[in-house]
């Protein structure tokens, strides 16, 4: 911007002769100062961005109230699912033969003696009641959270590994690699997800957690893969990547130092939202009887008893896992929404 006036001064200087040149030089100097002042102003404006993209995103996320509250609730669920079952041990499969079909919140008074004095407090052995076999619903619900959350997180890790690598390869190298990988993606998209999971798990007989995670990850990675490819296609042509290439950076350096950090934002959003999808999928599979085998509970397994419960007119045993499931999925979706707003404020 400052170049043009300088050029003009230089031209007029040559026309004006020696005295004019000196004058022009002074004017030029003045302009330089002005330019410097301008540069200084620009630098001052740019200063807030020194906080950095990720830090700024965290700040924006924390200002998003629903997302922060959802994160709190989700953390509570995760911590409960991690800690509580270790204290309860085998409670999730122990049968209380005297109390099958126990209703939830049935309190009776119980005397407790504390420091010589005895108190009568409301007490219940099974806070959320018991199922048809007399197993504690609370313990099963909390234990089931483990399976649901583990499947959700591990399968998403699988999505990111498979989809990330394949998408990056397709986007960066293009050509026949891109073509081959995109056709593979089309094939996997065309395969009906639940149908294939049911077919494979049916064929394996009993389903283990590992099989479940592998099957889901092997079939669901394409969304992350497509996103990654799209990111790489755009960023590959961007100026900073061209600059890095001109400086002689290797492919690996360009990919990991330059493209990957810049491509993460949409991947993170999609991955977050995807976890709730996987948890719901696991529930659907458990509901159909293709999740982890009994007596291990998962939220889907707990819900698969529906026919009996509805006939008995008791919906309580169904309500708790369903509430847990919907709450978790909803929290994850809201967190994902918050992250999207935080990472890309334009998309609001």
């Amino acid at each position: 911007m400052a170049d043009q006036p300088l050029k003009r001064i230089a031209q007029t200087g040559s026309l004006l002769g020696a005295a004019g040149v000196a004058q022009a030089m002074a004017a030029e100097e003045a302009l330089r100062h002005e330019g410097a002042a301008e540069d200084l102003v620009v630098a001052e404006v740019a200063e807030p961005s020194e906080i950095g993209f990720w830090k700024l995103a965290v700040i924006r996320f924390l200002h998003h109230r629903t997302a922060t509250v959802s994160l709190g609730i989700l953390l509570f669920i995760i911590v409960t699912a991690m800690i509580l079952p270790t204290f309860q041990g085998d409670l999730f499969r122990l049968q209380d033969y005297t109390h099958p079909y126990g209703s939830p919140f049935e309190f009776h008074s119980r005397t407790v003696s504390l420091a010589g004095a005895s108190f009568s407090i409301p007490w219940t052995d099974h806070l959320l009641g018991t199922d048809a076999l007399g197993r504690d619903e609370m313990a099963r619900l909390v234990r089931g959270a483990r399976v649901s959350l583990t499947v959700g997180l591990l399968a998403m890790l699988g999505y990111i590994i498979i989809g990330g690598i394949l998408g990056a390869l397709a986007g960066y190298y293009g050509g026949w690699i891109d073509n081959a990988l995109m056709r593979l993606t089309d094939v996997i998209i065309a395969m009906p997800f639940i149908l294939v999971v049911v077919a494979v798990t049916a064929a394996f007989g009993g389903v283990s957690l590992t099989v479940l995670v592998l099957v889901i990850a092997g079939l669901g990675w394409f969304e992350i893969g497509r996103l990654m490819r799209a990111q790489f296609l755009v960023l590959r042509e961007s100026e900073f990547v061209q600059a890095a290439r001109a400086l002689g950076a290797s492919d690996a350096r360009i990919i990991f130092r330059h493209i990957v950090p810049n491509s993460l934002a949409p991947i993170i959003v999609s991955a977050t939202l995807g976890v709730s999808g996987i948890i719901l999928l696991e529930a659907a599979l458990g509901f159909l009887g293709y999740s982890v085998p009994p007596p291990e509970p998962s939220w889907g397994n707990l819900l698969s008893q529906y026919e009996e419960e509805i006939q008995l007119g008791k919906l309580w045993p169904l309500a708790f896992p369903a509430i847990a499931l919907v709450t978790t999925a909803l929290c994850i979706n809201l967190i994902g929404d918050g992250i999207r707003d935080a990472l890309d404020p334009r998309q609001r």
């Binding site: 056709r183 009906p192 997800f193 049916a202 659907a284 919907v326 909803l330």
Partner: protein
């Protein structure tokens, strides 16, 4: 345009071949094998060898695949040993029922979701938008089978208004009031999930289009607000929904599987579920291929539609 059509068709053929290879390998390479699944765990090795020989299962895997493809091209999808019926025959019974269920519920979902999405975009960040966003988020976070169960509990058990299971008779009886009322709950269950997805997309698609330059131009020309909204923005905003329809076909089929299982609706999903319980591989393979074919064709149609209405696609592709 012709180049685009030919290229897209070629890609679809490759995808279909890929789908048949994967589904074929899935059923052939699985532990136990077909013979074991059909003859049962007590079958002797001699019987298994005989069965394999009779059914061409002792050939090399690529030879089996070629035989299978040859059969497939001639319209033979295989034979269900459990149900003692050809897979094509089974599908011709069950597929139309699934198509009716999916068709009606998708139409219902679109009829509700499109106006909802438009309303949310127009009343953006107002109370209507917030409450509808909350509702769609909750619906979207609900497992489909749970929605189905709630519907059964409310409308079939508590209110005793509608039958708890889908229509059981042939399609010709669907216009009968009793059978038609049985169709209401399955359609509602499927539509509610789809409404949440479609209205969300509709909202963001409308928002994307509302800020475009052509909206300002139209306003500057003196077109009324309603005119801009319905003649310009809505038309453009509907385009991505068509692609979404094509892409969400497999997901909708997955939802149909669960809905049909809950409502005992004798469509393709229930057929698939029963076959999975009994490990009836030919049926599993047949249903998977039919659904995959439907998805490929659906995506192809969506792409063609896209290319017709939006010339930019033809150039950039």
């Amino acid at each position: 345009m012709t180049g685009f059509l030919v290229r897209r068709l070629g890609q679809s053929v490759i995808v279909v071949v890929g789908v048949t290879i994967i589904t074929f390998l899935l059923t052939r390479l699985l532990p136990g094998g077909v013979a074991r699944a059909i003859l049962g765990s007590r079958a002797s090795p001699v019987e298994i060898a005989q069965f394999n020989h009779d059914n061409g299962l002792d050939l090399a895997i690529w030879q089996q695949y070629l035989v299978y493809i040859n059969q497939l091209v001639h319209g033979n999808l295989g034979f269900s040993y459990r149900l003692n019926e050809s897979v094509a025959g089974l599908l011709s019974d069950h597929l139309p029922k699934t198509i009716i269920l999916l068709g009606i519920s998708t139409l219902v979902a679109l009829a509700i979701a499109v106006p909802l999405g438009v309303m949310q975009a127009v009343r953006r960040n107002k109370i209507e938008d917030y409450s509808l966003t909350t509702l769609t988020f909750v619906l979207y976070s609900m497992p489909p089978f749970w929605i189905a169960l709630i519907l059964i509990k409310w409308f079939a058990i508590n209110l005793n208004m509608l039958p708890p299971q889908g229509p059981q008779g042939p399609i010709s009886t669907y216009l009968d009031p009793v059978e038609a009322s049985a169709l209401v709950l399955p359609v509602m269950a499927l539509a509610l999930v789809t409404i949440a997805l479609f209205s969300r997309y509709m909202r963001s698609s409308m928002l994307d289009n509302l800020v475009q330059d052509y909206v300002r131009t139209a306003r500057a020309k003196g077109v009324s607000t309603a005119g801009v909204l319905y003649k310009h923005v809505l038309r453009n905003a509907l385009i991505p929904i068509v692609t979404l329809l094509g892409l969400s076909l497999p997901g909708i089929f997955g939802g149909a599987l669960i809905t049909e299982a809950v409502f005992n609706y004798p469509g393709m999903g229930l057929l698939f579920w029963d076959s999975a319980q009994t490990r009836d591989y030919p049926v599993l393979l047949g249903v998977t291929i039919v659904v995959a074919l439907a998805t490929v064709v659906g995506n192809l149609l969506a792409d063609f539609f896209y290319a017709v209405v939006d010339p930019r696609v033809r150039i950039t592709e």
